[in-house]
């Protein structure tokens, strides 16, 4: 038996030497590229003790940066969620000219450098820009203020929710909505009692990814915010500023907050993937959640 087994030609990449080498290389890379920097952040943030760390966090400018980041997320994420649901709905449930074009447009922010988005906003809303005179006349400040930060964040994160929903809604088809409508449900009723419950996990998954990106966005926001300390500095911008001021502990303390958000995001993401969200395991979302089946059959 043993002999017969060893005589079989190895499957591709299945020989023990290859397997061991590959796993070692991957683990090493992961440790060097991902884990080490994370450990450094934690170590540096607390290098001068918890007191200094707390003081760095409690600094008014840092607190303001945190607040600004949270406010930006609170506005940008719901707007992008609404946009994502509307876009996914239109693309998957209606036939209209320009459907494919809309799909491409939604993907653009993924492929373009965020800094390009920032510069483009400068040209559109800046004082010398397209709408500059008009905005100036009414004294509306978009650039170097909260609206600009929100717009730039939204541009960068526009695809997240839509990208999660489109494949799922395509797989689900229009049958459920047609059935609900034929039973007498209104459009809103159909959306809230039939469509939404079937896409909720995928939607939440998209929201979490979107939120993580909004809070961490640097490039586009740095162009439009103007980096005014205590006024238009979001957390990532603030970290850079602190670092350039040689306030290493403060920079790492602020960075540790973003890292914490990232960890929470990952935990939430894994939890949602268990519920069938995420593109890798899309199918279970079509049936009742496993936990529900278990509790009903037991």
């Amino acid at each position: 038996m043993q002999q017969a087994k060893s005589k079989k030609p190895p499957r591709v990449g299945d020989s023990p030497a290859v397997r061991r080498t590959l796993i070692t290389v991957v683990l090493l890379f992961g440790a060097l590229l991902v884990l080490a920097p994370l450990i450094v952040i934690g170590a540096q943030a607390f290098s001068e003790g918890v007191k200094v760390f707390a003081a760095a966090i409690a600094h008014p400018d840092t607190l303001h940066a945190i607040l600004l980041t949270v406010v930006t997320a609170l506005i940008a994420v719901p707007l992008n969620t609404a946009f994502g649901v509307a876009a996914a709905w239109s693309i998957t449930k209606f036939d209209f000219p320009g459907r494919r074009f809309l799909l491409v447009v939604i993907e653009i922010p993924f492929s373009i450098s965020p800094i390009v988005a920032g510069v483009a906003y400068l040209f559109v809303y800046g004082l010398q820009g397209l709408f500059g005179p008009l905005l100036g006349a009414y004294d509306i400040k978009i650039l170097f203020a909260l609206p600009g930060i929100i717009l730039a964040s939204m541009f960068v994160t526009a695809p997240f929710v839509a990208r999660e929903l489109i494949p799922l809604m395509q797989a689900q088809g229009r049958d459920l909505e047609e059935a609900a409508t034929s039973l007498g449900a209104s459009g809103w009723r159909t959306f809230f009692s039939v469509t939404l419950p079937n896409i909720r996990w995928a939607m939440l998954y998209g929201i979490i990814l979107c939120n993580a990106r909004v809070m961490g966005e640097f490039g586009a926001v740095s162009v439009v915010s103007g980096n005014i300390r205590g006024q238009t500095n979001t957390l990532p911008l603030h970290i850079e500023l602190l670092y350039h001021d040689y306030q290493t502990t403060g920079a790492f303390a602020a960075a540790s907050i973003l890292t914490l958000i990232a960890l929470v995001t990952i935990v939430a993401k894994v939890a949602l993937e268990r519920r069938g969200a995420g593109r890798r395991s899309r199918r279970p979302a079509l049936v009742a959640p496993v936990s529900k089946i278990a509790e009903k059959t037991s």
């Binding site: 459920l176 047609e178 034929s182 209104s186 009692s193 079937n198 049936v287 089946i293 009903k296």
Partner: protein, 340 residues
């Protein structure tokens, strides 16, 4: 509710799916729309439901012009091929959905009672709290029917209702749908590409091809008097022999066959496998056996004439026949249609 389609047309982009179809469905009738895929049968059903709008023509529900009434207000029960049950709702919630969203207010008690009654009707008592993913395909389709019936539709529309089920379940559900129809007497229109299903179930069969009605009538009428080669071939297995017609007679090597109403010229003789007799000698068309297929009720013989035409026919289970045997095939009954 009587339904009337008057010259209904539907075009998708540049493809005309339905060409001027006119059809009357009597109140309480059970009608099958039968045709190959792409014949426009599902499109017609969806237009009656209001899930598609027609590009021309009128659809009447009773005396009322229903052409532009939206699905929501049309009062039809629609059953989908793939059930379209709401996966996040229990069976009970699925059936109750239509009553909950209805403009007619019902008390929760009334809804619960109706759900129980419907579950009894579709013989699924006790499955109320299961989810669609936890029941079989046949059960799902029965739930879908109960859900459609819950809102007291004026018309019941079924799109290939048993298409996704295996053969045995399909046969059971067919009988069962017949019984439900007899009990409720609701006007029912269903779409199928399965001739056996249409003939088994329907009071009247409407046969479609390429967006047009080619023949309609009771199962008896369409089976005994198919009006075209298409209907003849579509309704069941046929053997085809090329021939020529002269003065109302089709000429075959084995003799003449009556071809009333068939113009002189090249024609095809169509024979059902059951209408061919096999004998070792005597009159008939000489043929040699190529293959024998054993089936539960009989043996299907695939033979070839000396001219090379393939012939399929059935013999009794105890008949000794094997590949290579030679014998005579006699035509008991046949239909002749002009070639082309």
């Amino acid at each position: 509710m009587k339904i009337r389609l008057d010259n209904v047309v539907k075009t998708f982009d540049t493809f005309r799916a339905v060409h001027g179809v006119s059809l009357d469905i009597e109140s309480g009738e059970l009608v099958a729309l039968l045709g190959p895929s792409g014949s426009g049968k599902t499109t017609i059903l969806r237009m009656v439901a209001g899930l598609e709008y027609s590009d021309g023509g009128t659809i009447y529900f009773g005396e009322k012009n229903a052409t532009n009434i939206p699905v929501r207000d049309r009062g039809v029960g629609f059953v989908f091929q793939h059930y379209a049950l709401f996966p996040h709702m229990t069976i009970g919630e699925n059936i109750a959905f239509g009553m909950k969203v209805s403009k007619v207010r019902r008390s929760p008690d009334a809804i619960a009672k109706r759900v129980r009654d419907l579950l009894r009707l579709v013989k699924l008592e006790g499955l109320e709290d299961r989810f669609p993913a936890q029941i079989s395909g046949g059960q799902r389709q029965r739930v879908a029917l109960a859900r459609a019936l819950a809102v007291d539709p004026k018309v019941l529309l079924l799109d290939e209702p048993f298409g996704a089920l295996d053969a045995n379940v399909r046969r059971d559900l067919r009988r069962w749908l017949r019984e439900i129809h007899a009990e409720l007497g609701i006007t029912t229109l269903f779409v199928t590409h399965d001739q056996e299903e249409a003939l088994d179930l329907a009071d009247r069969v409407v046969i479609l091809n390429e967006g047009r009605i080619v023949q309609q009538g009771t199962p008896n009428e369409v089976c005994r008097a198919p009006n075209s080669a298409f209907v003849m071939r579509f309704l069941g297995d046929t053997n085809t022999l090329s021939t020529t017609v002269r003065a109302g007679k089709a000429l075959l090597p084995a003799g003449e066959i009556d071809a009333p109403g068939c113009a002189d010229g090249p024609a095809d003789v169509y024979v059902r496998p059951n209408d061919l007799d096999w004998a070792l000698d005597g009159a008939g068309i000489p043929a040699s056996v190529r293959q024998v297929l054993d089936r539960p009720g009989n043996r299907r013989v695939i033979a070839a004439t000396d001219q090379g035409d393939a012939l399929e026919f059935d013999v009794a289970p105890e008949t000794e026949v094997r590949a290579g045997d030679r014998g005579m095939v006699r035509i008991r009954r046949a239909r002749v249609f002009p070639a082309g």
